[in-house]
Amino acid sequence: MAPTNDVGFLESVAHRIRTLIIDTAHAAGAGHTGGSLSEVEILTALYFSFLNIDPNRPEWEERDRFILSKGHASLGYYVALALRGYFPVESLKTFDREDSALQAHPDMHKCKGVDYSTGSLGQGLSIGLGMALGRLKKNLQFRTVVLLGDGECQEGQVWEAAMFAGSKRIPKLIAIVDYNKVQLSNTIDANLSLEPFAIKWEAFGWDVLSVDGHNIAALLSMLSRADKIAEQGPVVIIANTIKGKGVSFMEGKYEWHGKAPNDQEYTAAQKELRSR
């Protein structure tokens, strides 16, 4: 599957990822469904268009790096990696099972295509920053993309990394925030608001872009803009998304943060996704 800018095709990929997320979560009886559904278009735009990668050479030195800092949304990540050709779609049946390469949180030593292990929130941006610094030292050309959850931006370490990258104007580092406004126990605003979010990133020395995180065409154009700006310094794309996107009874509900659909919910979700 070659990278493409064909929006219609990418939308069909996104739909397939969404369907497989629901299938896999239901079969496993596990998974972070809500945050996996909100990142679908972002992962589609990255893995099927933007990222310079080769599934046959996962260790290629000049590949673009991707870090899923919100490691709990591994389900969406694994589906995207499988469809992109890193491992068979069939493997998704082992998700979250004993001895599986597809651990609850991504493990770089177990799962092909995972550039770094994540799971404890707030740590991915620092790791991506380290990669971007290493790239500079080795005079390589790859880009580093870090996908952050909105909830994890409540972690202080995110802002330590943001301060360093912004202050030193580290190039070729792109952060994307899956701003679905909902965390494990409640909405972001009810627990601890991030606002004024864009202003915070700007104050830390980042260029800030904002996009509808479910609009593939908009995501592609924003990634291309970010890529140009990132030649000079770090860029963050605040992607406005909906937690549980695509399944009406999951949308915007914190109850679906870490839950898999039961048989009845699965049938209803499938029916809704098929009708699109």
Binding site: S117, S126, I127, G130, L133, G134, K137, E160, A161
Partner: protein, 318 residues
């Protein structure tokens, strides 16, 4: 570096980094605003392009090092042990230990000597924390020469290593050709009445204690343990079985460090009488290093007294 000369481990470690940096071009050093204290500033001055000052942001430092390690760099991260192992403890666990990142960790200002820093700056539990971390190698060198040897050994190991250093001057006790082996105790004295097992800066004073004991008719075996993990199980069991009484001496809490490790092993494989010298379950306070050490019997006289009591009681039924 001459035998008996008193040198701060941090200085020896800082100089070792400069030496290693000359041999290993992909080695980097990161510090969190305490380079003049940890002496990583020596490396920073020599190799400014290979030194990264991250500011007072230990968690970010750990993550940056993890990312750098994926590109074949071997980063040393360095700050005070107390902050390294707790402030950035989760980052070390999840960004370095679990991914088996090839990052070397220097916990400076280990234990009590912190330049009168007191409770907040004294790492009394860093060895316990790091020892419990799956796969982590933990080193606590005795003297400046061994600190250098440990830094060198850490570079030969592929994967995370925690190297603890202390702030205060420590006498050189090892000869120039001293080598450290992972999980191997260094036998410094043979004896039959009591076995002393020490680590870190307590070993030079345990050497002195053994001499005094000998003069008082107590024959003490002395084992120094440069790596707390892996630890020399065989040497510990041999001491337990042949002597039956072990005194552990460490610049650390008696919970979870060298004493804890020796108890775990003897309890399981070779039960014997044990006394742990170290800090009880307390926070330390500011003051003179030696005055404070003596409160916990971590001076030469304290070690001698504890060893004598143990030697006398070793045949008691327990």
């Amino acid at each position: 570096m001459k035998l008996g000369e008193e040198i701060a481990q941090r200085t020896a470690f800082g100089q070792a980094l400069v030496e290693l940096g000359a041999e290993i071009p992909n080695m980097l050093v990161l510090d969190a605003d305490v380079g003049p204290s940890t002496q990583t500033q020596l490396f920073g001055r020599t190799y400014p392009d290979r030194f990264i000052e991250v500011g007072i942001a230990e968690q970010n430092m750990v993550g940056i090092a993890a990312g750098l390690s994926t590109l074949g760099f071997i980063p040393w991260i360095s700050t005070f042990a107390v902050f390294m192992t707790k402030r950035a403890g989760d980052q070390i666990r999840n960004s370095i230990a679990h991914p088996r990142a090839n990052v070397k960790i220097n916990g400076a200002y280990g234990g009590l000597p912190t330049g009168r820093g007191g409770a907040t700056h004294s790492a009394v539990e860093d060895v316990a924390v790091m020892r419990a971390m799956p796969g982590m190698i933990v080193m606590d060198p005795a003297d400046p020469r061994e600190a250098v040897a440990c830094a060198r050994l850490a570079m030969d190991i592929k994967g995370p290593v925690y190297l603890r250093t202390v702030r205060c001057p420590v006498p050189v006790i090892f000869p120039e050709n001293h080598k450290v082996e992972l999980g191997k105790a260094v036998k410094l004295h043979e004896g039959k009445d009591v076995a002393i097992i020490s680590s870190g800066m307590m070993t030079p004073r345990a050497c002195k204690a053994v001499e005094i004991l000998e003069g008082q008719g107590v024959s003490a075996k002395l084992l120094h343990m440069p790596t707390i993990k892996p630890i020399d199980v065989e040497a510990i069991c041999d001491a337990a079985e042949s002597i039956g009484a072990i005194l552990t001496v460490e610049n650390h809490s008696i919970i979870g460090g060298l004493g804890g490790a020796v108890c775990e092993i003897t309890a399981e494989y070779a039960p014997c009488r044990i006394k742990r010298l170290g800090f009880p379950d307390i926070f330390l306070e500011s003051g003179d290093d030696e005055v404070l050490f003596s409160r916990y019997n971590l001076d030469i006289a304290g070690i001698v007294a504890a060893a004598k009591v143990l030697a006398e009681r070793r045949n008691d039924v327990h």
